[in-house]
Every structure is written in C-alpha cells, then in structure tokens.
Symmetry: C2
Subunit: 433 residues, 2 copies
C-alpha cells in the first residue's frame, strides 16, 4: 500500500493505494457513497456501499483533511476513468464550519468581490488554481529561455530613493525617518546591470499607485523584465521577444496541457515573425477603415488596439502585433528616438489579442544624450546621479521590455478581469487577504 | 569573421573573430600594446605592435565600449591561453571620464562604503560580478529542485494590511490614504497556499525595518521560501532542506566551477544527513565545553553558533548543523510545540559554517490551536481574519523554512559583510544606488 498523488491513481489499477487531501465532495445516491478527495494536483473519486467506511465523515464538512485508502478499479464513468473501492478513511484535520460558498463547482457562483474576500479558500477551486499553476509555468518558461540565451538573473531593490520615471503614481514609505518609494519598475537597475552582465532579466513585484480602478489594472503586479546590450535597434529587441513568447507558449503546451484543457484555452496564433505596424500607419489605418480620426493623438485607445488586433489576426494569422515608433512625447526620457524621424521613438508595444501586453524599446546609451534628455524634460539631474554614473562609464546600445505576468495569463485564458489571474490582488479598495 | 563571446575565443585558434565589450585595460610595454576587453562573461587579451591599430583609443578611458576584431593565436602566457592579434578596433561608446577607482584589479582598493557608493560601475569588477552570478545560480538551483519535487511557485503580495508576525520592525506605506505595510515575509501566504497546492515556494524581496546596522543584516533581502503539507513533524522539513542544500551545492559545482575557482571558494562539507542537536543539549554542551552558562537563555548568541559550527565540522565532517527544539517563548505564535515537551518547539535553525542560514519548523495546523495561540500571545484576532479562514477550512500538518539568499552566498564565499553579496544593499544609512 503506497501513498500516491491523485494524478497517479490511474496507473495503479488493481493495487491498494492511499491518497490524502481535502474532502472535495461527498454525495449519497441511494446506498452508494461517492467521496471525492482533492489533493494539490487533482481529484479522485472513491465509492462505497459500506456505511461504516464513511462513518468518520459524519458531522464533518467539505475541506476536512483526510487520508483515504482503497483499491483502484477501472470505471469508465469516474473522473479520470478510475475510482477507489473498499475504503478506509482517516480524518487528519476535521472541518466543522460551512464554506462561505461551494468551491467544488466548475464555475463558482460567487461574485468577484466575494470570491476575492474569501480567496484564501476559494483559490482551492480546481479551475482557479489552474490559472495560478499556469502563471508559475509562464515564469519558469520565461527564465528557462533567457538563461539559455546567456542572460543573468538579478534581484534589484524595491525600496528606492526617488521615483523611477516620474514623481506621479508612486507609493511613499517611511524609511527610518526619511522618505523612500516603492519601485515602479526595475528599469534603471536593469539598464545599469547591462553594464555588468550584458544581458539580464528579473522577475519581481512592481508597485503603481494609480488611483483608478479598471479591469486591466492592479496596484501591485509581477513584472517580467528583460534588458540587453549590443543591439542594433528596437527590432533586435522585438526579435528576442518574439522567440521568448513562442518558447513560453510551446512550454505551456508541453507541460500544462491538462490545465489548458480544463480552462478551455486555445493557444494563440504565434507565427515565427510577429507582424508590425508603425504607430503613424496604425492611426492612418484606423482613420481609413473605422473613420476614427486619431491622427493627432499621442497614443492609441483600447478600442484602437482591439481593431488592430482583429486586423493582425485576419491579415497575418497572428494573435500578436507589434506597434512600433510611438511618439517621443509619450515615452519616458530614456527612450531612444528614431534617428530618421526624432519625433517618433525606437520603441514598441506588443498587442496580444488586441490588448497591450508588453512595452519595450531601445534606450539612450550615450551620457551626453541623457543630460540633454533630462534638460528637455525639465527634470533635475540630482535624483538620477547613480543611474547617470553607469551611463557615463560606457554603455552599449541596449534595450529591453517588461511583460505583465498576470496580464499574459489574463489574455491567454480570456479572463474578463486581471484580478482573476492575480494571486491576492491589490487595488484602491483591497489590501486583504 | 564571427561575433563571439570572450569565453569562446579559445575554441577559435587560427580564425578571425570579433568580440565586443568594455576596455578593461590598456597597457603599453615597450612597443607592445596590450588591450584587454571585458564582455558580460569574461575577458580577452589582444596584442599589437601597430600603433595605428590602437589609435582609436587615444584620449579615451577605461570602460570605453569597443568592438575588437583579431586573429586568435595560442599564447600560453595570455589569460585563458589565447590572445588576439592583427587588430581592428572600433569604438562603440567613448568614455572620457576617469573611474572613481580602478575596477580592473582582482582586489578592489576601495572601502566597502566607497564601493557601494559607486556600485553601478564597481560591480563590473570580475570578482564582484562573479558573486552575483553565483547568487543567480543559487536561485535557479533552488527552483529547479523544488519544481522536481512537485512544488508550485507563488508570488505573494508585498503590500499587506497588517504586520506579518508582530507590529515591530515593519515599514509603513501610505496606501491611498490608509496605512499599509511591507511584508516582512510571505509566511502567512505560503501557509495559506499549502491549502491550495500542498507544496509551494516563493523567491522574493522581504522588508525588515530593523534599526540596527550589523555586517549580517540589511533591511531588504531576497528570501527563498518553502512550505509544504502532510509532514510528520519538523524532521520531515529538515530532510527536504538537506536534499535542497545538497542539490544547490551540486549544481553550483557543475555550472559555476569557473566562478567558484576565481572566487577561491571551497565547497562546504555537506553529508547526506546533516547532524542535529537539541537546543537544550546545545546549551549544556556550550556550558560544559566553553564554560558559558547560557542554560536559562531563550536563544543562542552568535559566538555559541560559531562554537557549535566548529564542533559539527570536527565531529561530523559537516559544515551544516541543525539546532532543533528552540523554546516556544522565542518563536512566533504559529509555531508547533513539541508534543513531548511543549516548552520547546518543533522548530529548527540550520547553521552554515557557524552562522544561522535558515529558520524553519512545523506550524500549527488546527484552527482551535490558532485561536488559543493568539489568545496566549495577547494578539487581537481581527488582523488575522483571512489567515485564520484558511486554518478554519482544513489544513494538513505542515511546515517550511526561509533561506536568506544573500546570506547563503556570504557564507559560501566567506565574505565579511552581507552587503558584498547584495546587489544594491539597503540599510539605515543607504537607499542608493
């Protein structure tokens, strides 16, 4: 008799095995008792007519922790094609309270707010935890690809002395009597570290004190950051990002086929080269095809991105589309301008199914260019002293990007709210659980 | 002519190659010019008698970014046994400022404070960046082992509504007009997630507002957190930790042999089973062998840990020693007591070369035990509501531990100050770079 995972039961037909986990369900149909046990990986059904075998469960509620021993029998109608019989059940941790709402349904009936209030138990729902397991798979594939490409992982500080990109939307921290801030991104650090390692990546939390609540924003999220040197321009960065995205999708298909199937996810169309369109041409196309004259706007609206996403899918068979050359006026001061037309930048957004997933581009790399850019933006030089020191002492042409990890899972799984892909989301109304 | 890394030059003897990187050094010995280029991976020497070949470097300083083409020649006296000749040098980014101190020496002459002030360039020193590359290797091996053992990665929020373990030493954040805190550890979240995945790990920043400056503490560091269910007691946790540490060391030996050699690191003695001693017996041993009567103290002093470390090395051929059974009075409220002697706990510290590296143990898992423990500690229940909800709905016996990532590298490499193993350290005096 061996202790196995629920996902291994199918390989032990005829044997006596033990599984442990949570009492996911217990139904009585006539004389038959159906006991469903859920462990960290899947579920297994156990069936008995023997009332004594389930006596230990009487008076106990769902989520009671149990150890269940039985004989594995092939049964076409059982989940996974097997079930346990001749049961012996031991209660490990009894539960006597009733869940705030049932978590053993495929689709939860709780509203998002109620779900989030009780996320500490609601995340045990198999559908919801599959989303989190996919997130873990995205992080693993991200690191695996970059390590293979000679990138080194860094972990930069989240407590910083000044706001990364501007003074707005930053959380202030009382730091031993002085003021510190929470990093809005590892942007400066990853650039600095290109001077050390040439190629770096980081996975870590970023903090945005944006006061608006939307379905696409939370105030703390996991950013997948990449930066590397000796590029030609932003197209070098886009080529790496394309291969990275394709690698992540291939690994998810390989290692998380079960989760993808249970979540009903169709993997996106991701051709070897993602199509791209210049910002200026995108605005012209929007005007000509949808009659929306946005040609003097410095940015694209969400509806514009959705139209472009549909166009890329129809015309290029691609769920991914690069928009390149955003106006310099809307990009941060360290952005490298387009040498041929300095009103526009060597930057890009990557749209995934019509929503912005990644922002990136080429950065300035010459020290005098930084001084000029700060002067143009009317920023003081002092808060940037240490960042500028790296630039003063030799930086190659470089660039990079940042992917919102939760945003990736949201778009991949077609979720309506970013909070569904976030472990314990933080927004203007929510700091718990 | 192909673009290669400096670490690949040795494999191209006779060929014409291009490397790029930073001007690490340029010496003139008689008519000979020795140019050392450093890329993100190593260094390569280039030699020429032709003054015209190095003309582009005149007036420029160390760290100028260059592209250097040459023919690979075997030369026993050159670093790595090869050098480039017949040079063509192109300047990519000129540097005209002089570094605050030379960074091309094996040992830097700067004091730690000066080093840290200029870390953005000083980390380019090959010795220092090797430490950071080892850190990346530790993280990769940590994740690899745990993924193989069925653990799922989580990323818990760093903005929390209340202090994790007590109200002290926590950074306060202004969160949209209310008060939030920076998480001192992912402790509660990783326990909660055992209810979802059974086995979880997390790599992320933790924040400790400890107002004292020591060589062993900083105020933000990278914590390697593990938690898993269905354990027997803390010995189950220690067994997993032992295998994890041995896996990390084996992977470092495999993948980072060059860094370990350049850093002069001798890998520690790590037997298949790490020895352990009970806290009470450790105090008795300290009293008997060193005459220090600490038998009524609730904790061990750093000197005690050093003595114990020496003893473990001599008696058990181990650089690692578990001290188990710390008094409940010094452990957090969620610690599981020793059933045989509830004054002591089912917890442990792992000493690495006489310094605490890991703290861990078994946690309480029954809801009524939590209520009793909070009452005993005179903590209000309300701040723990969501944590307690996970406990109310069925938790198996579980436990885990946290490793300080920088502490591991510090002890492994015999560094005198934790700041040497920290990318950009944060302490009471330092928020930059």
């Amino acid at each position: 008799m061996s202790l196995i995972r629920t996902t291994q039961v199918h390989a032990h037909v005829g044997a006596r095995v033990t599984v442990h986990g949570w009492l996911h369900n217990w139904r009585q149909v006539g004389k038959l008792n159906f006991v469903i046990v859920r462990d960290g990986y899947g579920i297994t059904q156990a069936v008995t007519e023997d009332a004594a075998a389930v006596a230990a469960l009487h008076g106990l509620q769902h989520e009671t922790v149990i150890e269940l021993t039985g004989t594995v029998v092939a049964e076409a109608q059982a989940p996974g094609g097997v079930e346990l019989r001749d049961l012996a059940i031991r209660v490990v941790t009894p539960v006597t309270d009733v869940l705030p709402f049932p978590i053993n349904k495929a689709l939860l009936k709780a509203t998002l707010d109620v779900f989030l209030d009780h996320a500490t138990v609601a995340l045990r729902n198999p559908h919801r935890r599959n989303l989190l397991r996919l997130s873990a798979g995205v992080l693993a594939a991200f690191r695996e690809f970059l390590t293979g490409e000679g990138f080194t992982e860094i972990q930069s500080p989240k407590l910083v002395a000044s706001a990364t990109e501007s003074g707005a939307n930053v959380f202030a921290v009382d730091y031993f009597g002085t003021q510190a801030y929470l990093a809005q991104s590892p942007q400066f650090y990853k650039q600095i570290m290109v001077g050390v390692f040439e190629r770096v990546f980081e996975v870590g939390p970023v903090f945005r004190a944006e006061p608006h609540d939307t379905t696409r924003h939370v105030n703390e999220y996991v950013s997948l950051d990449v930066e590397f040197g000796f590029i030609e321009n932003h197209f070098t960065v886009m080529a790496l990002l394309t291969r990275l995205v394709r690698h992540i999708l291939a690994r998810l298909a390989e290692r998380h086929a079960l989760e993808l199937e249970l979540l009903g996810v169709t993997l996106p169309l991701a051709p070897a080269t993602f199509p791209h369109i210049h910002f200026r041409d995108a605005q012209q196309w929007i005007f000509e095809t949808h009659g929306d004259d946005c040609r003097n706007e410095p940015d694209l609206a969400p509806q514009h991105e959705r139209w472009l996403g549909e166009w890329a899918r129809e015309k290029f068979n691609s769920d991914f589309l690069f928009v390149v050359g955003y106006p310099m006026s809307k990009r941060p001061f360290y952005t490298h301008p387009d040498p041929a037309d300095p009103k526009y930048s060597n930057s890009f957004d990557l749209l995934f199914r019509g929503t912005e997933l990644v922002t990136g581009g080429q950065r300035l790399h010459r020290y005098p260019d930084y001084l000029a850019a700060l002067a143009r933006a009317k920023y003081p030089v002092e808060p940037f002293t240490t960042y500028l020191e790296a630039m003063k002492f030799g930086m190659p042409p470089h660039g990079g990007f940042a992917i919102g990890s939760e945003r990736f899972v949201m778009q991949l799984c077609g979720l309506r709210n970013l909070r569904e892909a976030t472990l314990f989301p933080r927004d203007t109304h929510r700091l718990t659980p």
